[in-house]
Symmetry: C2
Subunit: 344 residues, 2 copies
């Protein structure tokens, strides 16, 4: 633990406890918008950073120190736990993760190994342990959700439509379930390992699940998510579920054994509460607003905070990740504003 008193505002908000001010962190708060990160990336590849605990901890810590946010999130990629199970991934700059051996059949699914994270991902545990010594804010662990992971595995890389993924889901329900089961195991084992190593909350990223209709989500995906969050619940660690464009899924999400729902700007927090959702809520500024003039940004954020603060259990975040064109100064000013505006 760091020299400062530990700031547990974020954890309290996850648990719907009273907080002295609204906690804030930003998805992809470590990334290319930071000059320091760009410098480090000149020396190391993405995976080299990830596999070097000293450097990975530095990259994870950087936005906490720079922006004053109330939580750190482990620097890693949702692909990180897939390599040890036999997925060949290349991170292609400007394109994203590309898969050399996409899933096409049951044999492809069965070829994926189980995960033994202590053995295959020792650097993740070491990074987390190091960060727990260094940080005075909670450390969030994370993993990709099975649908979103499967979209890369089946499409072979990023996609705009996910036709192959959903086509596989519809046409091969047995193979689909085998893949969901395998990826659920990976997600659970990987997150339990992060929690054992010291992660104080975990976020499950289902970035692309908003492409699925509500009935299909209920049938093909919800049982897997129930399994994952049920397994995590035993740890007592707060869990967060994130997706973009998921307003149509929130009624179903509300029935999952997860603590916090992370929403985007396509639905307001008032609308979420009007659905009868009492869970903690995280969100929901459109990250594009980081390019807006300060007055406009401030007005938008004020409106979000006024809605979010109506009841306990609110964490400020973006509706999706920070992007390279954003500025450190804007995020610093934004964080300060949120703290000042919501201070009791």
């Amino acid at each position: 633990m760091g020299q400062n008193a530990f700031n547990d505002t974020f954890l309290k908000a996850c648990r719907k406890e009273a907080v002295p001010y609204t906690p804030v962190w930003y998805m992809r708060q470590a990334g290319r918008y930071q000059p320091e990160y760009r410098e480090i990336r000149k020396k190391y590849s993405f995976f080299e950073i990830n596999e070097n605990p000293e450097v990975c901890a530095e990259v994870t810590r950087l936005p906490v120190e720079q922006l004053g946010v109330d939580a750190a999130i482990l620097f890693a990629d949702i692909m990180t736990p897939l390599q040890p199970i036999g997925v060949e991934v290349d991170m292609v700059s400007g394109k994203g993760p590309m898969i050399r051996n996409p899933i096409r059949s049951l044999a492809d699914v069965e070829r994926l190994h189980s995960i033994h994270p202590e053995q295959s991902l020792p650097f993740i545990g070491e990074t987390i342990q190091l960060l727990r010594e260094q940080l005075s804010v909670p450390l969030i662990g994370f993993a990709g959700a099975p649908f979103t992971l499967s979209s890369y595995l089946i499409e072979g890389g990023p996609s705009k439509d996910y036709h192959k993924t959903k086509g596989f889901m519809y046409a091969r329900p047995k193979e689909w379930q085998a893949l969901m089961d395998k990826l659920a195991d990976v997600t659970v084992e990987y997150l339990l390992y992060q929690i054992r190593s010291g992660a104080q909350a975990v976020q499950v990223f289902d970035s692309w699940v908003g492409s699925v209709g509500a009935e299909d989500y209920e049938q093909y995906i919800a049982p897997t998510m129930t399994k994952i969050f049920t397994a995590l619940k035993q740890t007592g660690i707060p869990t967060i579920y994130f997706g973009s464009g998921t307003a149509h899924l929130l009624n179903i999400w509300n029935g999952l054994p997860v603590d916090v729902l992370s929403i985007d700007w396509r639905i307001s927090i008032d609308e979420v509460r009007a659905l009868g959702i009492e869970k903690s809520v995280q969100g929901n500024l459109d990250p594009s607003m980081l390019l807006a003039p300060w007055e406009l940004l401030k007005n938008k954020v004020t409106a979000i905070l006024d809605q979010g603060c109506k009841q306990p259990g609110y964490i400020f975040n973006l509706g999706h990740g920070v992007f390279p064109e954003a500025s450190v100064e804007t995020l610093q000013r934004l964080t300060q504003f949120i703290h000042d505006y919501t201070k009791k």
Copy 2:
């Protein structure tokens, strides 16, 4: 007009009149999923097809004859009217339209010319005239909507997040409005030209506008769409507005002077009607379902039709375009099933 009696089912549904069965057509019904189209594309580039009325009419007619759909849609790209106003576009296979001179400033906006479609796009008028002689179903003209067009112009090509586009919108409201005004003029002039040439309905494609929150849509985009649909209303020709992931915008869309709202699978037709929307509705099968086994597809389509047919003003379509992996046989069978199932 063709030798068969003219089939005006689609136009009647646009106008909420009684129909003998549910009309159906498919967005991107002319395209790479057709072996005949792939053969033609071996001989001609996309733009060569577009600029050759005989070939363009053939490509437009092909799905009507092959699938038995109730409407044809002009084969063109939403970029087609941008080249004459000074935008340099390359169609890059597997990537989409790439812009050589992206919009960065007011000077860039002012540099765009007005459109004189009779002079600069004579092939569009000729194709439409030819098709009206050949077709026995209505011909739908179309154009891109200003937000979606601007997303290509500002990002320089396809995007997943539209940060630059929305950043421009927030940070440069004057330039944004100038761009919206210019693109609204292009859209209106181009569609009026298509209508003068013989188009019997028009669809405005705002494919990516679902990335914008409701308040921002109301402020930055709705006035432009009102202007466009008001200008088109004078023609008496049915107008359709399409976007994907726009459930959160439908209350605003309902206030626009447009006849038909084209929706996707993220909202059900029952939910649309529950919002109080009385306009005609078009949609909303997830195109990924075209890869599903027939029984699953049939059940999903039956549920959609049962909702759609509850009141007049329903057109079957996908929630987004047909894609290369779809099969002609599935679309044929689907069209036949929809006609048979809904026949009075």
